[in-house]
Symmetry: C2
């Protein structure tokens, strides 16, 4: 049983109550806690030594990554982060200095995005460091963007460049909070997700939740320099397009909106975020399934995103 099958089994019948607007299955849980006009966003995310980072990572990067992953999920709902709690499970050989430097990474990123670190706890995990972040945020009720709203005919967009994140970006990415808030404020975005499992894998989450399909344009997919370098360096390596489709931890935004908004969006984006690429990479189709169109024609895409328990 892989992770997705286990999660499906576990989330089949979870206890609910009147506060839950959207439970398991989106980037964040969405709660109605009685804030006038707003929903609460609630998210938790853990990173583990040897799984999500190696002993080569600087402690500041480890803290940055842990908090950044949660912030990226708040961004995916076009939300505003409010406060986070830090759970630090420490190995036997922890040094206080190392832990303080992790907090430096957390605190710097938190300050940049106005999120409070409201506490947390430390416990033991003898063999390896585990760092889990819990976060609450909020969003205007009419601006909360789920995975489930994609419609046939929508244009598909992605921010930044994809693939090869393992070369370094996975430890230093900037969560796309202001970009997501700008998108939600200016355009009727139908569905959005942050790219953590890889373009193909995360797009499948959107398609499943929205009960639609998609067709990607191979030559429109923005490939990162890291993915290209990686392909050149290792002769056995996969082509860079496959890296862009399958590598995890890009932490870019993938979203869809009616194609009539595509040109105004690209114009507005260029003025607002001149340094960050925005690419139209395909369209949503009524027919289910994920297809890739390239020079050789159109074919079903079998590439899976990164699955933690493959």
């Amino acid at each position: 049983m892989n992770e997705l099958e286990l999660i499906a089994r576990l989330t089949r019948a979870l206890p609910a109550n009147a506060s839950v607007v959207t439970g398991a299955g989106d980037d964040c849980a969405v709660l109605d806690c009685g804030q006038p006009g707003r929903y609460l966003l609630f998210k938790t995310d853990a990173i583990v030594e040897g799984v999500h980072f190696t002993s080569q990572a600087r402690p500041e990067q480890i803290g940055h990554k842990a908090l950044g992953r949660c912030l990226s999920d708040i961004a995916a709902m076009a939300g505003r982060p409010l406060a986070a709690l830090v759970t630090l499970a420490l190995p036997n050989n922890f040094s206080a200095d190392f832990i303080e430097r992790i907090y430096t990474g957390i605190n710097c990123l938190a300050q940049r995005h106005g999120v409070a670190i409201a506490g947390g706890e430390t416990t033991r995990n003898p063999e390896r460091l585990l760092l889990s972040i819990s976060m609450v945020g909020d969003v205007a009720r009419d601006k909360c963007i789920l995975r489930s709203g994609a419609k046939a005919g929508d244009a598909l967009f992605v921010t930044g460049e994809l693939g090869g994140s393992i070369a370094g970006r996975h430890l230093e990415f900037e969560p796309r909070l202001s970009e997501a808030q700008w998108l939600a404020a200016h355009f009727p975005i139908h569905a959005m997700i942050d790219l953590s499992d890889g373009l193909a894998g995360d797009l499948r989450h959107v398609l499943r939740a929205s009960r639609v399909g998609a067709e990607l344009l191979g030559r429109a997919i923005p490939i990162s320099r890291a993915a290209k370098l990686q392909a050149r360096a290792e002769s056995s390596s996969k082509p860079p397009l496959l890296s862009a489709l399958g590598d995890g931890e890009d932490f870019e935004l993938l979203f869809s909106l009616a194609s009539s908004h595509a040109v105004p969006l690209l114009d507005g984006w260029k003025k607002q975020f001149p340094e960050l690429r925005l690419s139209c990479i395909g369209r949503i189709t009524a027919e289910p399934g994920l297809k890739l169109r390239d020079k050789t024609g159109i074919r079903s895409l079998e590439t899976h995103g990164y699955v933690h328990f493959a």
Copy 2:
């Protein structure tokens, strides 16, 4: 450096914002997220195999304990739990059946207290199971009870019986949510905490936050049957009073209120919760420090509560 020193160093200068009413240092973080008349409570708590439970524990008990610890912290603020997220870090040899039974324990307790399980995540932790719960709850602004409100002259109360929790209660305790809500609704409680580190240790947290001292009455401290049995079974074991003072994980409520309310409280409690003992165990003093009065006189209490990294 022990855990308390490390936490003190880490929490010295955490990023804050306008949403934070009370950050690190109470049972839950208290946030103002714009709910009219209410505060949001935010808490995270992790349990680790070999630290908080052994491989002898039934998986349902592990799930119960993880969720129950968070619920107990919500109770300590007189709050109402709303929703939880489950972070499951799975060892290499995990069985899906074992994990499902953990969820059974979580879900049963969640249903009993009306808290939703709004999602979560699974990740890997090769050597041992780690289970972390994040929880949001809320509380009326004028009923939120902090650790910092104890006043000289207050009477000190504790629910239930203390000590010897390791014999089984730490896996099966019922969080005192309805008791705490009833207390806050009917009496002006000054300060409250749930007993996780042991009576002496947790009382010290209240005294430090409130800048007061306390005098405990040795013969008034309710000692559990498990602590008495333990003392009888092992000749080398500590006296049961020391178990009641120092053992962790009782998950009972410790609170203070003006002594003029002590008799009406005991009367009202007996009618409302006839099955659960409530004991007046001493009083808050203006002079700092923790003292114990027993047959032999009055002396300073050196007993520390359980400290995770002693």
